[in-house]
Each structure stands twice: as structure tokens, then as C-alpha cells.
């Protein structure tokens, strides 16, 4: 993909001037995002469940098309800019369909061979007219969940020339709100492809899967003999296996961005609270137990931020070795986020354990984030697999 003129994609930042421009651009993007999310995120409805950020605000912000090429009315930016938005969404623990559409949806489409149908959809996503969800493995098991084969007249009347899809995927992000679903599927020769279906197509069922973290929307997608036209089965542009892996890496890293943001928010809230809450006639932050716990949180976040930056740079520049940086970032940051949010709960005392206090929202989101797209142990196992054999991938770089 080309970062168009005037935009500074991370991949294109090579001179010191470029790097400065990029920093400035990210700072602006971050400030705008933080401001908007402060005003809109965190609202709850009558049932006390979080109200998602208004979709028209997301569409108007231009964030949905950050990675969509400019000729398709996107911003022509890279994952580095998407990461800034994800980080802010995490900080606000915002409920939004951003991940499903703008991160996974756009990410999947960009890995496909260019074509009219794909480009049309990218443009529609950038404009906020179509919302996407990508049904890919969400846990530790990365088996591709769908199968596609040529349809026969037995599958559906007039199905000749079309394709039949079967399979089921759980914990699909933002599935319930999606206008279109992109299914990662294997063709009869075992090659991964992407199949586009609509939730109301015959044979397609989307069932909401409520989770403890109320800020996320997850759904199970079941496809039982759905028949699509041949134009809805899309090939990956380059090595299909590799493309699926990159899509999974992007998903894992996106969650890590969110987790770093929420950990930062928890540290800030805790430091604020420790400075104002008084016991024994003094601010609790003056007690070493509290102060040192905050310091530990800060150290964890500082390390996590560096690992995350390395992952983001690798994914944004399509580095073939990105998986290493991604697994480091995902495993470290997501563990740290749970620990930081848990510490925040502890250091807030009784208030930390109330619903109103809101720390629980972050802890639950961190826990879900830790499990999504590979638990820490799964990512560490992937890293460890490199230790067994001398390989071209150097352990230090």
C-alpha cells in the first residue's frame, strides 16, 4: 500500500524530519481522539450497560478509513496511526465497533487481491456506510473456522457457479452490529480465502455472546450451507497462509494497544486518588506501600509501551518478522494491563470495588483483552519455538 503524498506513514518515516512530522501527527490525532472520547465514551444506558460511541462520530472523524488508500477516500495512513486511535479507545474503555470495521475489516480487505468489489467495500467502510466484522480465530486455537467449496444445484436452486460455506466461529468482535461479515475460510485445496456474507443471508446466523466485559460486543457466527456468488469469494494477494498470520498478528496487536491505553488510564486514576485520599491524616500516596505499587505499575507500563511501539512499527511496515515483536507486545502488555488494573482496584480500597467507581470496567476489559487473539502463554510459546533450533531469525537484533 502506498502512503499517499502529504501523509506520513510510519513505513515511510526515514529522515529525522519525517520522524518529527510523524510524531506531531500522532500527537494531534491523539489529542483529538482523547478529547472526543472524553466527551462521548463511558455513558451508560437505562440498563446500566455502556452505550457505544455514536457511529456517526467515528465516521466523521475519519478514523474508520485511516488505512484506506486515498484514491478510495481514505487517509492513506498506516497501522501506526490506527494504533494511536486504539490506544485512546482503550484509555477511555470505550465501547465502539472500531476494531471490527476499521482495524480487522480494513486489515483483511487490504490483504486481498485488489478488485472492484473489494475497493468498493473499502470505500464504504472508510465512509462509515458499511460496518464489518471479521470471523477469524479469536482464542488460542488458530484453526481456520470456515470451509468453502463450489456449490451444487443440491445446495440451493440456481446455485451453479456459486460457492457454499460452512463453519462456525465464536467471539467475533462487533459481529452483531456488522452489515457484512468477512469469513476466513479454507477452500477445497486447503488454501485460505475470505468469503463475504451478510448476516441476513440464508444459512448465516449471528448470535450475540454477552461477556463479563460489557464494553465489548462479541458474537458467534454460524454458517450452515450458505450459498454465495463467486464474486464474494476473495483471494489473498500474496501467500495466503502468511496473510492469515498477519491478520491474526494485527488483531493481537490491536488488543495490546487497547490494553496499554487502559493500563495508563488506571495508573493515572490511581496516582490521582493516592494524592487526594487521606487516611491516618495523610494522603495514602505518602505510604510507601502505595507509592511503590504505583511505581511498579509505571515501570510495567514503560516497558510495555516500548514493546508495543516495536510491534506497531513492525506491523505498520509489513515486516515479515513482525510476529516476534507482536507476540512480545501482546503477552507482556496484556499481562501488565491486568496487573495494573488489579492494583488500581486494590489501591482504591472500597471505592475500587464499587460499580460506580468504574475500576471494574477496566479490569474486566483487560481480562478479556488478555484472552483475545492468543493468551500470553500462547504468544510466549510461539516465541519459545524459536529457541529450540538455530534459525535465521536471530534471538538478538
Amino acid at each position: 500500500m502506498s502512503a499517499g503524498p502529504g501523509t506520513a506513514g510510519a513505513a515511510g518515516a526515514s529522515t529525522p524530519q519525517d520522524v518529527d512530522d510523524l510524531r506531531e501527527l500522532h500527537r494531534e490525532l491523539r489529542d483529538v481522539a482523547r478529547d472526543m472520547l472524553r466527551k462521548t465514551a463511558g455513558r451508560t444506558g437505562d440498563d446500566e450497560a455502556p452505550v457505544p460511541v455514536d457511529w456517526s462520530l467515528l465516521a466523521g472523524s475519519g478514523w474508520l478509513g485511516l488505512e484506506v488508500p486515498e484514491e478510495l477516500d481514505g487517509a492513506g495512513a498506516t497501522f501506526a496511526e490506527v494504533a494511536v486511535v486504539l490506544h485512546e479507545i482503550g484509555r477511555a474503555a470505550a465501547s465502539s465497533g472500531y476494531l471490527g470495521s476499521a482495524v480487522l475489516g480494513v486489515g483483511a480487505l487490504r490483504l486481498l487481491e485488489p478488485g472492484a468489489g473489494r475497493d468498493e467495500l473499502l470505500a464504504a467502510v472508510a465512509a462509515g456506510e458499511q460496518r464489518l466484522a471479521v470471523a477469524l480465530p479469536a482464542g488460542d486455537d488458530v484453526t481456520i473456522p470456515f470451509h468453502v467449496r463450489p456449490a451444487t444445484p443440491g445446495d440451493a436452486p440456481g446455485a451453479g457457479g456459486g460457492a457454499r460455506v460452512d463453519g462456525t466461529a465464536g467471539f467475533v468482535l462487533d459481529a452483531a452490529e456488522a452489515d457484512q461479515l468477512l469469513l476466513v475460510a479454507l477452500d477445497p485445496t486447503g488454501v485460505p480465502v475470505v468469503v463475504r456474507v451478510r448476516p441476513d443471508d440464508p444459512g448465516v446466523t449471528v448470535t450475540g455472546q454477552p461477556v463479563v466485559d460489557e464494553t465489548r460486543s462479541l458474537g458467534a457466527v454460524t454458517v450452515d450451507g450458505a450459498v454465495v456468488d463467486a464474486g464474494s469469494v476473495w483471494q489473498f494477494g500474496t501467500d495466503p497462509q502468511e496473510s492469515v498470520r498477519r491478520l491474526l498478528d494485527r488483531a493481537a496487536l490491536a488488543v495490546a494497544c487497547d490494553c496499554l491505553g487502559l493500563a495508563e488510564a488506571m495508573l493515572e486514576a490511581t496516582v490521582d486518588y493516592a494524592g487526594t485520599r487521606r487516611q491516618f491524616g495523610r494522603p495514602i500516596g505518602s505510604f510507601q506501600a502505595v507509592k511503590h505499587a504505583c511505581a511498579d505499575m509505571f515501570v510495567r507500563i514503560s516497558v510495555g509501551r516500548e514493546l508495543l511501539a516495536a510491534g506497531v512499527a513492525a506491523v505498520a511496515s509489513d515486516d515479515p518478522q513482525a510476529g516476534v515483536a507482536v507476540s512480545r507486545a501482546k503477552s507482556y502488555v496484556c499481562v501488565a494491563a491486568v496487573d495494573v488494573a488489579g492494583r488500581a482496584m486494590q489501591l482504591h480500597g472500597g471505592i475500587g470495588y464499587t460499580w460506580e467507581g468504574g475500576v471494574h470496567v477496566y479490569l474486566k476489559r483487560a481480562l478479556l483483552g488478555r484472552a483475545l487473539f492468543g493468551a500470553p502463554a500462547a504468544h510466549r510459546a510461539r516465541l519459545a519455538a524459536r529457541f529450540a533450533e538455530p534459525a535465521d531469525d536471530p534471538l538478538t537484533e
Binding site: 479469536a138 482464542g139 488460542d140 486455537d141 488458530v142 484453526t143 465464536g170 467471539f171 455472546q209 454477552p210 461477556v211 463479563v212 466485559d213 487521606r278 487516611q279 491516618f280 491524616g281 495523610r282 495514602i284 505510604f287 506501600a289 502505595v290 505499587a293 491486568v338 488489579g342 482496584m345 486494590q346 480500597g349 472500597g350 475500587g352 470495588y353 464499587t354 460499580w355 460506580e356 467507581g357 475500576v359 471494574h360 479490569l363 474486566k364 481480562l367 478479556l368 488478555r370 484472552a371 483475545l372 493468551a375 500470553p376 502463554a377 510459546a381
Partner: protein, 401 residues
């Protein structure tokens, strides 16, 4: 005392028989969807069931219906946990904190009035903490003014667990505002039906409303409901707090070992994502073995504490060691359970009422573990107690009591 190996084996067989006959079938499902009234009714019925079996208050002195040797109590709690018996949640403060306070510092009249009533289902709440007095409990501001042959109480209590269902409250209030913080507090038994009392539930992190605010507006407490001498309430409270920190742990440790940990192992025997079983993964094996070892240590620690407590040889920080270790081990164990159980664990949106701290709804169980690391003296405060009272280290530079 019947604690020889054969006697214990016989006792175990007896408890097992009893459990098989009395633990209600399928109570978990019913309690998962139970409303408040059903929860209370179920808890009351189960308490009476245990009482009839002689198992409700084994830790009480024999003259009040207890007197079971510690070694037998361990067996009892092991079997109750292993048979997945409901826990006494509603009566927890009644049978532990209220009873230990009355036994340690109550008058004969107070004991005669309340201990049998507790056996009949009287429910107690602990009204110690206040908005400005949590870790610094001695900083409490609720006042009790002497008036005629009673006291008039004004103020606010916070985080009172189970206050909405309580008949009586263990109340700390300031009777001498001029005295140093710990020398101006008195300990009262307060009737929750008293006029001037307003209880408001506070929603907790798990979405439930167990703890409450209690607003006290000119509540009259008769002088006969004072526990211990006026202005000696802090000393009396130490008895209650030490019960919370130590003696209650015997049952909880056996729960963790015989229910929570067993289920965790069972869960790990299930299929792993991507094939095989979780329990065949060396990383999972290693963590399970580590947790099992820690739980074994905890259980021994608890039994030792109970025995030393009975012999009057418990050290000043022993209860804190147990409370700190239990609460953080519970948290670590639940954290691991959440991790190995993966995404499906996040779809468990309710845990059964009346269950242990580990119910198998791991995400909620993990969140719930802060109900042990925060109340009753936070982990930070416990570490300070262990350092100062246990090890004799110099005191933190806090404002003098």
C-alpha cells in the same frame, strides 16, 4: 477429644453420609438465578439443616453448641467442600464476628440473648468502616452521645456487608471526641429495626449489592447493648477483627483446596484449544503443582493458627499472616483459572449465590477476590501489622493513635 486417626476416619464417614443425604441437589442452578428473597430463605434453611446435623457452629464453645476439636473441624470443612455444599454466606458475620465478640467481651445477658438467637437465624452485620475511616478505622466519626440510660447515635457507616438483611449490627461509635482516637470509641450492639436508621445498598464490582451504606440519625441504643466498658471499644473490636482475619480461614482454606482447586484441575482435564488436554501441557502442570503446594501450606497454616488460638499461644500477627496469604493465594489461583479457561470463561455472567469464593465462574471469581484483599484490613495494612507486631520492626511514621 476424639482426634485419633481411627476416630477421624469414622467422623469423616459420618459427615460424608450426612452430606450425601442433606446437600440439596442442584442448588447451584437455583441459586444462580435466585432473587434476594430466595437467597435469604435458602441460606436460612441450609443453616438450620447444618444446625440439626450439629455442623453449623463447630467452632463455638461446647456449652453454646460447638466444641468440635480443630482436627474434626478440618474434616468437616473438607467434606462439605468436597460435596459442594452451599456456604453460610448470610450468617457469616453472625457465627464468626458477632459470636466471637460476645464470647470474648459480652455480658452473660448479651450472650444468653444473642447466641441462641443466632442459632435460630438472627443475622448480623459489621458496622465499622466509614467514608473517612477505612484503613484508619480509629478515625471513625460516628458519635454516640450518652442520654439518660442510653446512647444517641449519629453518623454514617459504609461498606456494611449484608446490612439489608441484618437484624443486628456490631457498631463502633465515638463516645469521647476529646480523647485520643483509640481511647474514645465504644462498641455497641445495635438493633437494625431502630428508628432513625436508613440502609442503602451500594452496587459492587460484580454488579451485586451486598454491601450498604447505613445512615444513622438519632438512633437510640439502650445502655445494656454496650459491649465492654465505655471508651474501650477499640480493644473489643480487636477480638472481632482477629476472628475475621484468622479463625474464619479454616473453612475457606478447605474450600479453596477441596472445591476451587479441584474444579480447576477438572477444568484443566478438558480439551485444550488446538488439541490435547490442558493438563498435559507442562506449563499448566507446573502452575497447578505450584498452586497445590501453596494451598497445602495455607491449610496447614490455618490449622496451626486454630490450635494455637485454642491453646492461647497465637502470636500477635499470626492471624494477619493467614489472612494475607489466603486472600492473595485466592487471587492468584483465580487469575490462573481465568487464564487457562480462556474466552468461554468470560460468558459466565452470574455466579451462584451461596457458593464459595471460587464458584467456577472464574472471571467473576477473580474480580470477587478483591473482596478478600481489601476488607478486614487491606493486604498493605496486613503487611505492616506483620512487620511491626510480628517482627517488631520500627513503626511507620503515621499520626500517633
Amino acid at each position: 477429644m476424639n482426634t485419633s486417626t481411627e476416630d477421624l476416619a469414622e467422623f469423616r464417614a459420618e459427615v460424608r453420609r450426612w452430606c450425601r443425604e442433606h446437600v440439596p441437589a442442584d442448588w447451584r442452578r437455583a441459586q444462580t438465578v435466585a432473587g434476594d428473597a430466595e437467597f435469604v430463605a435458602f441460606q436460612q434453611a441450609w443453616f438450620q439443616e447444618l444446625r440439626t446435623g450439629g455442623y453449623a457452629v463447630p467452632h463455638w464453645p461446647a456449652e453454646w453448641g460447638g466444641g468440635m476439636p480443630a482436627a474434626q473441624q478440618v474434616v468437616l470443612y473438607q467434606e462439605l467442600a468436597a460435596h459442594d455444599a452451599p456456604r453460610l454466606v448470610l450468617g457469616f458475620v453472625s457465627i464468626h464476628h458477632a459470636a466471637s465478640t460476645l464470647l470474648a467481651a459480652g455480658t452473660d445477658e448479651q450472650r444468653a440473648r444473642h447466641l441462641p438467637a443466632i442459632l435460630d437465624g438472627e443475622i448480623w452485620v459489621q458496622g465499622f468502616s466509614e467514608p473517612e475511616a477505612g484503613s484508619d478505622l480509629a478515625g471513625l466519626r460516628t458519635t454516640a452521645r450518652r442520654e439518660g440510660d442510653g446512647f444517641v447515635v449519629d453518623g454514617q457507616k459504609l461498606w456494611a456487608s449484608g446490612a439489608a438483611h441484618a437484624d443486628w449490627c456490631l457498631l463502633l461509635a465515638r463516645t469521647d471526641p476529646a480523647a485520643p482516637k483509640r481511647r474514645g470509641i465504644s462498641y455497641f450492639l445495635m438493633d437494625m429495626r431502630s428508628p432513625g436508621l436508613d440502609v442503602r445498598p451500594v452496587r459492587n464490582a460484580a454488579g451485586e449489592s451486598h454491601f450498604c451504606e447505613i445512615f444513622l440519625n438519632g438512633v437510640v441504643i439502650p445502655a445494656e447493648n454496650l459491649v465492654g466498658p465505655v471508651n474501650q471499644g477499640w480493644q473489643v473490636a480487636q477480638a472481632t477483627l482477629s476472628a475475621e482475619r484468622g479463625m474464619t480461614m479454616l473453612e475457606l482454606a478447605e474450600r479453596l483446596g477441596n472445591a476451587g482447586f479441584r474444579w480447576l484441575v477438572e477444568a484443566c482435564r478438558g480439551p485444550a484449544p488446538g488439541g490435547g488436554r490442558l493438563v498435559d501441557d507442562p506449563r499448566v502442570q507446573d502452575r497447578l503443582a505450584e498452586l497445590e503446594t501453596e494451598i497445602a501450606g495455607l491449610r496447614a497454616l490455618c490449622l496451626g493458627l486454630v490450635e494455637r488460638h485454642e491453646a492461647g499461644t497465637a502470636g500477635p500477627a499470626d492471624a494477619s499472616v493467614v489472612k494475607l496469604y489466603y486472600s492473595e493465594l485466592l487471587q492468584r489461583t483465580m487469575d490462573f483459572a481465568v487464564e487457562v479457561a480462556g474466552l468461554p470463561a468470560h460468558t459466565e455472567l452470574r455466579k451462584p449465590a451461596s457458593s464459595g469464593w471460587e464458584s467456577g465462574a472464574w472471571v467473576l471469581d477473580f474480580i470477587g477476590s478483591w473482596e478478600w484483599t481489601i476488607p478486614g484490613g487491606t493486604s498493605e495494612i496486613q503487611r505492616t501489622i506483620i512487620g511491626e507486631r510480628g517482627l517488631g520492626l520500627p513503626r511507620e511514621p503515621v499520626v500517633p493513635a
